[in-house]
Symmetry: C2
Subunit: 298 residues, 2 copies
């Protein structure tokens, strides 16, 4: 019977082998080899694979203009982080580490002035300032670099979980000054569980995973002639730092703590200072994830 | 950077490792190992994986009560056939080979009497009779075995591609007589291309695959105390026999040709005689696929 299976895999690879685009051919042949090896290794049964098909179907049907369940699945399987790490390879050791974009990124973040707060509607929480410099890998400032920041409110909710699509909160676009400095006000974010109503959550429950992400602040930073940087800063002491459900904390370098900082622009607020280093390169997107309202929904 | 990737994969496997159900734990750990190995092997980029996510999303959104695009994807990647072959393993060498159930199976096939035609609405085509015996692996007849038959009409269309959900044609359930004989009338099926309007078809086009299935007749056969048999008979001489888009023709044993047959019950019609051998076992479903209207759509 193994001879039959080998013959089957060979004929699938042969059909894939006629693909004219070399990259698509390479990806599909590798995918088929690993997919078949997986099914053979675990001796996947028809009932189990049918349950898998029902799971993928439900995942696709959960997707909408403000929910991307397949990105959530990719995140919770560590694949998003893996692809980001692969992207970071290639002599960029001096650039800031990346982290997952996550499913809550939106292109609609408002343009704010230096020192503005991104908490425009949300109430409560511990006020804080984020500041620092955006530089190249040699530490030379990048004037005019764009810094987009987004995060949960102090209760662990993103705007789109609380409000209509139109309402935007806890997000902002800042422009670095002539010396590469950025400054934003906010409140400290909170750790939060992944959405409780979809197939991915059902998977996490079956695996007895807690489903939490540690508290973090997202950054998407771009500057002409440099590679876009997608990363996040994680709050020291968070109980989920070591067991992030989406495996975003790939480097201790991204863990920070707010503190009193005499050098900070706003004296009365605790500060998180972080300097970001961008690698030289094209501005091509370096992230798994997207504004989900922009993803083709079939 | 490879050290980071290895550490990431380890921490994903560790989170999976706490799954209490041993089988789910085994499947998910193997899936993660192969998924990560695939991404690393091809150095999957964020843009490519985002395109993959858009493809899976579109595939899920294409699914409806009469369309199961993920089964179609599984079929066209050879995974359905592979899982069926794995299912056939285990000392069942004497049973008839299985073949893919395909996305057009319906539970609503009508009960017909021996010798009835399943072509109740479809017009035209070459009339034919299917007959033979259903036996166990020792060749002992199985009286009362249930034989469900479904196929395209003479133009290569299934009923649900032409009509409303309620209208059923080219399908029938037959009961074997006291000596295990079944008999049905029909018209010869035709090779046909997979649906032209979904993401799977776009994948086939990008791979320059013709997208055709060779002409075939589906059989789903069950008898008490025996393993359900899902198979199909393929017409000799069909141009797509060697390049079936869903890799269903896993054995030459399933290729047949209609002929004049003096022993056939209906003298004036060409006949396809096929004797099916069922393995002993529970009646558990041995097939990837299902009546798609029964699949959880999230």
């Amino acid at each position: 019977m193994n001879a039959n299976i080998d013959a089957l895999t060979r004929s699938v690879l042969e059909q894939m082998g006629r693909t004219p685009a070399p990259r698509l051919r390479q990806i599909m042949q590798s995918a088929v080899r690993h997919l078949h090896a997986f099914a053979e290794e675990v001796e996947l049964t028809p009932e189990e694979w049918l349950a898998g098909i029902a799971f993928f179907t439900a995942t696709g049907q959960m997707c909408s203009a403000d929910r991307q369940e397949f990105i959530l699945l990719s995140d919770t399987l560590g694949l998003s982080s893996l692809v980001n790490l692969l992207h970071d390879c290639g002599g960029l050791e001096q650039a800031t580490e990346s982290s997952v974009l996550g499913p809550f990124y939106r292109e609609t973040a408002p343009r704010l002035a230096a020192g503005d707060s991104i908490a425009r509607i949300a109430q409560g929480g511990t006020a804080v300032q984020y500041y620092g410099r955006v530089t190249d890998v040699q530490g030379r400032p990048l004037p005019g670099a764009q810094v987009q920041i987004w995060q949960t409110d102090a209760d662990g909710w993103y705007d789109i979980q609380l409000h209509d699509q139109e309402l935007v909160d806890m997000r902002g676009n800042f422009t670095c000054d002539e010396n590469g400095w950025y400054l934003a006000r906010s409140v400290l974010p909170k750790s939060y569980p992944l959405p409780a109503d979809g197939p991915v959550r059902r998977m996490l429950d079956a695996q007895e995973r807690h489903g939490y992400r540690p508290a973090h602040i997202h950054f998407l930073i771009s500057a002409e002639g440099h590679k876009e940087l997608v990363t996040a800063l994680y709050l020291e002491g968070d109980p989920y730092l070591e067991s992030d459900t989406v495996f975003g904390v790939t480097s201790a370098e991204l863990v920070v703590a707010p503190k009193q900082d005499e050098a900070a622009p706003i004296r009365e607020l605790p500060a998180i200072r972080y300097d970001f280093r961008l690698a030289r390169g094209s501005a091509e997107s370096g992230r798994v994830g997207a504004d989900v309202s922009k993803i083709n929904l079939g």
